[in-house]
């Protein structure tokens, strides 16, 4: 076999590839589903957010804009003091700046931010890439459950608070 010059063997490689079906997936007619952990878009669960500002501070691009206000909520038990809670007024993520690094999702202590594999949200106008609180809440529907781990892992699978 080594007597066949490399030139001829190279032709064989390309011919064999030509006879096999092509690997192209014809997007947008056919869509491939990305992995569940794929970092497509960030979703917000507004009820869990306490406006602690950890995500906004830890963003390398400073693309999260948060505003909130304090208000009094009814006490947990009857006869108790009213509690002070923070409610979020404005929570915008500017996807024109976002690096999709995931530090905000990781750092949130209250499970308010989640990754979703949705990626088809490009806009003709760059200003429309600023997703506000409601839009981020809509993305929450697309957040998949966390996948189980490989054998030997000590990590526990977290649950997405639906």
């Amino acid at each position: 076999m080594s007597a066949i010059p490399g030139l001829v063997k190279g032709l064989g490689v390309t011919l064999k590839t030509m006879l096999k079906p092509a690997v192209t997936v014809q997007y947008p007619h056919v869509k491939e589903a990305p992995a569940p952990r794929a970092r497509g878009v960030i979703a917000l669960k507004e009820e869990n957010c306490t406006v602690c500002m950890l995500c906004g501070r830890s963003c390398p691009d400073w693309c999260i804009y948060i505003e909130g206000h304090k208000t009094k909520a009814p006490p947990r038990r009857a006869g108790g003091k009213p509690r002070t809670v923070q409610l979020v007024d404005r929570f915008d993520i500017d996807y024109a700046l976002c690096m999709y690094c995931g530090i905000c999702v990781e750092v949130c202590p209250f499970d308010a931010l989640f990754w979703s594999p949705e990626f088809e949200y490009s806009e003709p106008k760059i200003a429309d890439l600023l997703h506000d609180k409601d839009k981020l809440g809509e993305w929450f529907e697309t957040v998949p459950d966390y996948v189980p781990y490989e054998a030997g892992s000590e990590a526990k699978v977290k649950k997405v608070p639906r």
Partner: protein, 344 residues
């Protein structure tokens, strides 16, 4: 050819028909090669699909490309020699059209039946070198000129193996008339067995190999495409051409694949004849072109297959390959053919 349709045409009517016929004979293979080989075959070689949107499975992509080129702006560099700049693409296209004149497509289907058909075809195809040179010169671009000179050097160097390879066939056939060569291959016998005729590929395989390598270089395809794919020359002599003028160069390149493929098919593969069919029948005037077209596609497939598989040679390596390997090999082929022709 007019006897085919039993028409009585005057000379000028016949000429018009021949002009239209030649244009069709050139553009159809060129378009087919571009669509099939450049778009689809290379895509599948590279494990992808190629154009799929224009027409079903991208079959109308070539027409879309033509439309795109036609509607582009016609830019001529300020310091370019306008007349020569405009003339150059037409020179190259004209030489390809002239080659098609002598190719026989059937027993009566030819545009001109020259006795020195082979000589004429090779001579006329060399004129394209002039077109390349004047394109590079008229572009008023230092790098285009360098590319044109390199291309001219390469094309001239590979003319010799091209011609010498064909000489072997001419010696064996005993005639330079292309229709006669097809007849000899069709009616010849191999040691008395006449079932498949005597296609010259069986005896002149060395000549065919040299011819295929030489046409790869004549068409400036990889591995000999240093003039066009040079990293500092962009597209060499074609750099300053845009729009319809570039399209003409493009058509000329692919039509030349067809022209040389037709020559190879006629000289080595038996031309428009397929063994088992009647040589003189009238229906061969319709079936013949189809057979020849199929053979041209086969030759073109090999040309493009090699083009998309191999890396390219450096200019000096390319010249050394021509002068130190191909030409001596073709001379040995001629000597061997001559000796064997006398012996047998």
């Amino acid at each position: 050819m007019t006897a085919l349709f039993a028409l009585e045409l005057s000379y000028w009517q016949e000429t018009v028909l021949k002009v239209v016929g030649v244009l069709a004979a050139v553009l159809i293979p060129a378009g087919a090669f571009v669509q099939l080989f450049l778009f689809k075959m290379v895509s599948h070689l590279q494990s992808r699909l190629g154009p799929m949107e224009a027409g079903p499975h991208g079959s109308l992509q070539a027409i879309a490309e033509v439309g795109k080129f036609i509607q582009k702006e016609d830019i001529i560099p300020e310091r370019a020699d306008r007349f020569v700049f405009k003339l150059a693409p037409y020179v190259v296209v004209m030489t390809v059209l002239l080659v098609y004149l002598v190719i026989p497509f059937g027993p009566d289907m030819y545009f001109a039946n020259l006795d020195a058909g082979v000589f004429y075809a090779l001579a006329v195809s060399s004129v394209s070198v002039i077109g390349v040179l004047i394109a590079g010169w008229a572009s008023a671009n230092k790098y285009s000129l360098m590319g044109a000179i390199r291309a001219a050097g390469q094309l001239i160097a590979y003319e010799l193996p091209l011609v010498l390879a064909v000489v072997g066939v001419v010696i064996q056939a005993g005639t330079m008339n292309l229709q006669g060569i097809v007849a000899i291959q069709a009616q010849g016998e191999i040691f008395g067995w006449g079932a498949i005729g005597n296609p010259f590929i069986l005896t002149q395989f060395v000549g065919l190999f040299i011819f295929m390598v030489a046409i790869q270089a004549e068409l400036t395809q990889t591995p000999f495409d240093m003039p066009i794919a040079e990293s500092e020359l962009i597209t060499g002599y074609m750099t300053e051409y845009s729009g319809l003028r570039f399209l003409l160069f493009f058509i000329a390149e692919f039509a030349a694949v067809g022209a040389f493929g037709a020559l190879a098919a006629t000289l080595w593969l038996g031309g428009w004849y397929l063994p088992g069919l009647d040589f003189d029948a009238n229906y061969m005037n319709v079936v013949g072109p189809i057979i020849l077209f199929a053979k041209i596609m086969l030759v073109a497939f090999v040309v493009f297959w090699v083009r998309f598989t191999y890396p390219r040679l450096r200019e000096d390596q390319l010249q050394a390959f021509a002068w130190k390997f191909l030409i001596p090999l073709s001379l040995i082929n001629i000597v061997a053919t001559g000796v064997l022709k006398v012996v047998f």
